[in-house]
Point group: C2
Chain length 252, copies 2
Amino acid sequence: MANAEPATKKQKIETEETLLEEIDTTQNEIDALNEQASEEILKIEQKYNKLRKPFYDKRAAIIEKVDKFWLTTFINHPRISSILQDQEEDCLHYMTKLHVEDFDDVKTGYRISFHFKENPYFENEVLTKEFHLAAENMSDNFTQTSTATQIKWKDGKDLLKELQSKPTNKKRDADHKSFFDWFLDTHDPSTDDIAETLKDDIFPNPLQYFLVPDIGVYNDEDDSAAEEVEGEGSEQEIEDDEELEEEAEEGE
Amino acid sequence: MANAEPATKKQKIETEETLLEEIDTTQNEIDALNEQASEEILKIEQKYNKLRKPFYDKRAAIIEKVDKFWLTTFINHPRISSILQDQEEDCLHYMTKLHVEDFDDVKTGYRISFHFKENPYFENEVLTKEFHLAAENMSDNFTQTSTATQIKWKDGKDLLKELQSKPTNKKRDADHKSFFDWFLDTHDPSTDDIAETLKDDIFPNPLQYFLVPDIGVYNDEDDSAAEEVEGEGSEQEIEDDEELEEEAEEGE
């Protein structure tokens, strides 16, 4: 009986080894399906990026006609507002368009573009920040690198130099002391919550931030302006009366 | 000229109001496309859930033949190991199958099932914990509710009573003091990292945890057991020799 043991042991090892090989083979088949699923989902995202594009373009064309749309939207957003400096707010008066788009393959990154009309601060018409995602390993941890358009400041108008020369006693941010400081900072962008806010919160629906709830005292003598604008299926009510009133009063 | 002002003001308000209406209309079209995209992605996930099913079933059938597969996998996983009590480890000797599946519509939740063979601890063959996700608002914040199979403990074998009667001086966990304490706890499961570990880490590829890296002293007199099992495209090397050796030695 003692002689039989090594054979039994060997047999058991071989059986278990065979089973583990079989599990591994099946696992590879599952992994292959997972990759196929990811590919198909990427294709859907690509398809809808294309389908959304004309509507984003249409929206952008209308937004351009609304005075201070992006400045107002940024000021009304708590996260973006937290890094805006006074002079930057003046500069953002001239911003006409925000655009966010995935790279064509969706998975390797995205870019955020800020379009400006002729302004006293810089020569650029478009400032673009790109975020390149690189898969670090198989378990989908990504590292990011970013690039930013070099800003061609006009003489004496470099807002970052302004900022460095005086202590910032206004709004503060743990990571970025100003909007342009964020824009030009291409170090360690893996936790860039400003970029994520612009991409996933503001760009998908900026109107909700442009139209802040009407919390001020409202005194309207023009009934036509008090009508609420409601689109079918709209997720929030549009309360634009105070905004419009302010605009109108500035014009008087 | 003074008389003209109210008309200009009214005109400006109407123009801006019209623009905001147009933005809102376009936004609704974008939102509708987003919903369509989500639906299509859900369908892809449903499709691949079906395609993966036979491979998961096949894998489960092989795993059942491997002695202590799930116990070993759980012990080797740092997060699950942190809540396992000694007596629970004994109980998990009898666990034969882990299964995780989305509900049919994918988006409303998932269930985790633990299958057991005849054992001294309880009568149940399957213990199932279900997680129901409910959308709280439009910005995709979800709340979870969960349910768990009632465990029919055999006389004097209630592991939770055991646990309550003596101080736990072994492993500790911030949230759960044992595996069955986690299983039966259906309060506030919105941050259930044990469930997430089982669903997103262990179930997709348990073999990598069953096959821990060979860190112990290895003394092998049987060359056939030292051969490495490598599947094509496998993401990790299979180092099963020590495991098999231990099994074999227990059998002697």
